[in-house]
Every structure is written in structure tokens, then in C-alpha cells.
């Protein structure tokens, strides 16, 4: 577990840094995805809704394309897919309490699960491990983003 600029960034996840989303391989090509603590901070810290686009479930989604939206009183924005694949299911818990994604973004607050179509081909665009967290930290420093 690493904390940079007050943002919790576990080293075992894969990050699409530009989009503030993470991916975690669960085996067999299944990948769980969610928003990072940085996205939680940037969205204002309290969500009114986190909605996975229902039309996308069961469909192919492309890396970096929006699979969900976050809404707060001060912000609205996309949750892009960190990898391409079939969007298998959304985390239903977020419907009744979107703020789980803020309080526990890497645990109970995951957003969706994707059957990756080209993990090996796309993982190069993601960062992970100590080097990945360092790359993420460089972005936070460059953009003066802090979670504390």
C-alpha cells in the first residue's frame, strides 16, 4: 500500500493514470475496475450518483471510453474503462450508495467487471507496482493534486 500526496494508491493494481481508474485481474481474463482515490477527491468527495451505463452491459467497451458517470453537486464526469472487453456486470451496491466508491474505492466500491479482450496488448498503457505508483505520483505533483 502506498500513499502519495495523501492519495492511497495500492501497488498491486494497474492504473490508467490519465483517467484516474484502476484495473485488477481476477484470473481467466476477468478484470475488476474502479475509480482511484484521486478521482474520488477530484469529484468533490461526495457523490450524488455513480451510474454504469446499462446499455453497455453485455457489450464490448473500448479502453478509455466511458462506462459510467459520476455526479456530485460540483462535478460531473466519465469513468473510462482501463481496458477493452465485454462489460459483464456493474457493482449494484453503488446504486443505493454511490459513496462506497469514495470511502472504499479499491474494495467494496469497485465499479464494474470486464472480460478483457486484449489484456496483453493493452496492459502496456497501464502502470503498476512501485514504478507505477511513482508515475502516478509524478502526475499528482505536476498537476498539484492532493487528497489530504
Amino acid at each position: 500500500m502506498a500513499t502519495v500526496n495523501g492519495c492511497n494508491l495500492p501497488e498491486d493494481l494497474y492504473y490508467l493514470v490519465e483517467k484516474h481508474v484502476w484495473a485488477k485481474p481476477l484470473g481467466g481474463g476477468l478484470v475488476r475496475v474502479g475509480i482511484t482515490s484521486v478521482a474520488a477527491k477530484l469529484s468533490g468527495g461526495k457523490l450524488a450518483a455513480l451510474t454504469v451505463k446499462a446499455k453497455n452491459i453485455g457489450q464490448e467497451v473500448k479502453q478509455s471510453k466511458s462506462i459510467a458517470t459520476v455526479e456530485s453537486s460540483k462535478f460531473v464526469g466519465p469513468v473510462p474503462a482501463p481496458i477493452s472487453g465485454i462489460l459483464l456486470r456493474a457493482n449494484d451496491k453503488l446504486v443505493s450508495d454511490p459513496n462506497i466508491a469514495i470511502a472504499d474505492p479499491y474494495g467494496e466500491g469497485w465499479v464494474a467487471e470486464i472480460q478483457a479482450s486484449d489484456w496483453d496488448g493493452e496492459v502496456g498503457l497501464l502502470v503498476t507496482g512501485a514504478a507505477g505508483v511513482a508515475a502516478y505520483q509524478a502526475k499528482l505533483v505536476a498537476e498539484n493534486i492532493s487528497c489530504s
Binding site: K53, K55, S66, T69, E71, V76, G77, P78
Partner: protein, 122 residues
């Protein structure tokens, strides 16, 4: 490539501040959902595009001015179209409007509406 195209027709203006934030919020939201989003301004809606005007329109006391909601929509990639006739209604020149607004006639509105999956009017 956007999934679908949607349009928001904005007729509300500075006289009704509380009607002036949500349309931009909905536009930004639609863009975040990968829709291609057009906002068509006519009647009093066009006044919100007059340089300096939206900064003075505040839907909620102590809250953000409409200009912030407009900027969020622009940043999200929403296209702004202004009805030529409505600028004449308010004696506005195209140069009086904020940057990035395209002037079109009413016939364009009909053609865009026909292409759109959903049209909302505020």
C-alpha cells in the same frame, strides 16, 4: 465515435436563473456518457452566450454562476449553436457571443433534431 447524438434546446435565460444550470449539467453528463451533444440556443437562451452575461446569472445564492456550468459543458465537448433569429431579437452581433459558438438558422435545428435520438427543451 459517439454512441448516439442528443440535443438540448435552451430557451431559458437570465430572467429565470434557476432554469439555467441543469441544462448545462445534463449536457456535460450526456457527453460523459459518450453521447455527441448539441445545445441549440434560441429565444432568451441566446442571452446566456453574450460575453460577460453568464457570470452574472447565479441559480443558487452563494453557488456557482452559470458561466461555470457553461465552461464545464465546453470542456466536456458539447457543441454550442445559436439561432440567428434570436440574436436579432436581442440586437446581438455574432461577435457579442462567447468564443466557440456557431450561428445557424432554424432549419439547421430541424435537421439536427431529426438526427438525434433524444431532444430535450428547457
Amino acid at each position: 465515435m459517439a454512441d448516439d447524438k442528443v440535443m438540448i434546446i435552451m430557451t431559458s435565460g437570465p430572467d429565470t436563473p434557476r432554469r439555467c444550470a441543469t441544462p448545462f449539467f445534463f449536457a456535460s453528463l450526456a457527453a460523459a456518457m459518450e453521447y455527441e451533444v448539441v445545445m441549440f440556443f434560441t429565444i432568451d437562451g441566446t442571452l446566456l452566450l453574450k460575453k460577460g452575461m453568464a457570470e452574472t446569472v447565479v441559480p443558487k445564492a452563494g453557488g456557482k454562476p452559470v458561466s461555470d456550468f457553461i465552461q464545464d459543458a465546453i470542456d466536456a465537448g458539447v457543441t454550442f449553436l445559436a439561432c440567428t433569429a434570436s440574436t436579432e431579437l436581442h440586437d446581438l452581433q455574432p461577435s457579442d457571443l462567447i468564443d466557440g459558438v456557431k450561428m445557424v438558422g432554424g432549419a439547421s435545428m430541424w435537421q439536427i433534431a431529426e438526427d438525434c435520438k433524444t431532444v430535450l427543451t428547457f
